[in-house]
């Protein structure tokens, strides 16, 4: 699914104006625990999260996420936005909550990119 379609589905606002919105997103992953993200995600997904600190961008970059959506209309910290621009990670904010966001994207055909790992 194209990032631009995802943004429409979640009533999202793009926070990084330079971002290429034509990229393909292969799956989704939602979490607020960065260790979970690092442990159990697959590459080329979109990350849905309530965290807004710069570590979110770093985590996304390490785990090969293609974009990040902040839930419940959250705005990232200035350092986060700065880092995202530098590292070319598209940031989107959506007024929807985590459950509604996951639901909409899943219903539209975006698969879960969560891997089963024993914790």
């Amino acid at each position: 699914m194209k990032l631009i379609e995802i943004i429409k589905l979640v009533d999202g606002i793009t926070l990084t104006p330079d971002a290429n919105l034509n990229i393909n997103i292969h799956g989704g992953y939602g979490a607020d625990l960065m260790s979970d993200v690092l442990a159990a995600s697959q590459p080329n997904a979109i990350l849905l999260t309530g965290l807004t600190n710069p570590q979110v961008v770093r985590t996304a970059q390490m785990a090969d996420f293609r974009a990040i959506i902040f839930v419940r209309g959250k705005q990232p910290q200035p350092e986060t936005l700065e880092l995202a621009k530098e590292e070319n990670v598209p940031l989107i904010t959506s007024p929807l909550g985590m459950f509604e966001l996951c639901g909409r994207l899943h219903k539209a055909g975006l698969p879960s990119f969560e891997t089963n790992v024993p914790s």
Binding site: P17, N20, M34, L38, P43, P54, M62
Partner: protein
């Protein structure tokens, strides 16, 4: 896939004719940036064909035909006095007037652009003036070149290609490192000093390590595993150490070794810290999404071997190794 999509001339000019939507704004950004960065003198044609007002139109037609161009500037005593184009000549042909002089039919209403202006200025001038080519003048108002929409398109495409090539070249150079340097055993060592509690820059070193590995030609899967492991390790240095520590990456053709060393406080019970969920992190760290007691567990899952040594009061050393299949780093095995 290049993030920069090549754009046609219509696309570049098209946006002037209609309101810019959000989507346009995202898509044209690098091109738009370039249209401010690139100067007219960088893209204009400097090879000048000129005509004089006394020249006959049939002679000019010959110049246009031979050089396959559609117009030339007209100069008199090295001063720009007009432009003569195919359209002007067609007008003359309709009246069977080709023996007439350039001075009779040339466009005297001169629109020019300055060589030191950005190409965006030329783009605006093209739209406003509805002409296909513009004479370019320098600070002394002397004619120095001509610019067409085609020159602009070519200039932008060339610059976009250069952006793309720069990364390719870096990658190429790095990926041949192990081939170019002959030794019995070549190891590339990268060291990073990690400050304690510096969350703002947390992950910078890991990010640089991952990028270095990709440039060296590592498989993206391997780069990802290294990135995750080293990021968890870097985070541990930031969260837990007294005075920070050193993060080290050693790349050999067959193996990647990452390690962290610090001088305190040291770990009381190593078996305990390896238990999933065991954590000594503060609430502040947890609020940032870390400190769930998964770091070392996660590292273990990403690497082929992990060693953890620690002495309370002295410090901790963590070594992580990933074996590299032969096809990485240019397919060359050690030795």
């Amino acid at each position: 896939m290049s993030p920069h999509r090549a754009r046609t001339e219509q696309e570049l000019n098209g946006r002037h004719g209609r309101p810019i939507t959000d989507r346009d704004a995202h898509e044209i950004n690098r091109v738009e940036e370039l249209s401010y960065d690139l100067k007219i003198h960088e893209v204009m044609s400097k090879k000048l064909h000129t005509a004089s007002p006394e020249m006959s139109l049939s002679d000019v037609l010959e110049v246009l035909r031979i050089n396959r161009i559609s117009g030339v500037p007209v100069t008199e005593d090295s001063q720009l006095v007009g432009v003569i184009s195919i359209e002007d000549i067609v007008r003359a042909m309709q009246r069977n007037d080709l023996t007439e002089t350039v001075g009779q039919y040339m466009t005297r209403d001169l629109v020019t652009v300055a060589s030191y202006d950005s190409i965006v200025k030329a783009m605006q001038t093209f739209t406003e003036s509805q002409v296909g080519r513009l004479p370019v003048i320098n600070e002394e108002k002397k004619l120095v070149g001509m610019i067409t929409k085609g020159d602009i398109t070519r200039g932008i495409l060339f610059a976009l290609q250069k952006d793309y090539k720069d990364e390719e070249v870096r990658r190429y150079r790095a990926s041949h490192l192990f081939e170019d340097i002959i030794s019995d055993r070549t190891t590339l060592v990268l060291r990073y000093n990690i400050k304690a509690h510096d969350f703002t820059h947390g992950g910078n070193a890991s990010s640089n390590i991952k990028r270095a590995l990709l440039r060296l030609g590592a498989d993206p899967q391997i780069a990802r595993r290294c990135g995750i492991a080293v990021y968890e390790a870097e985070t541990n240095l930031i969260i837990h150490t007294t005075r920070g520590g050193i993060l080290k990456l050693e790349v050999e053709p067959h193996r990647i070794t990452m390690s962290t060393t610090d001088d305190g406080p040291g770990i009381q019970d190593i078996d305990q810290v390896l238990q999933p969920g065991y954590s000594t992190a503060t609430d502040q760290v947890r609020e940032m999404g870390f400190g769930a007691g998964m770091g070392l567990v996660n590292i273990k899952r990403c690497v082929d071997s992990m060693e953890l040594e620690s002495t309370v009061g002295k410090g901790t050393k963590l070594i992580m190794r990933i074996h590299v299949p032969a096809e990485n780093f240019n397919g060359r095995k050690d030795g």
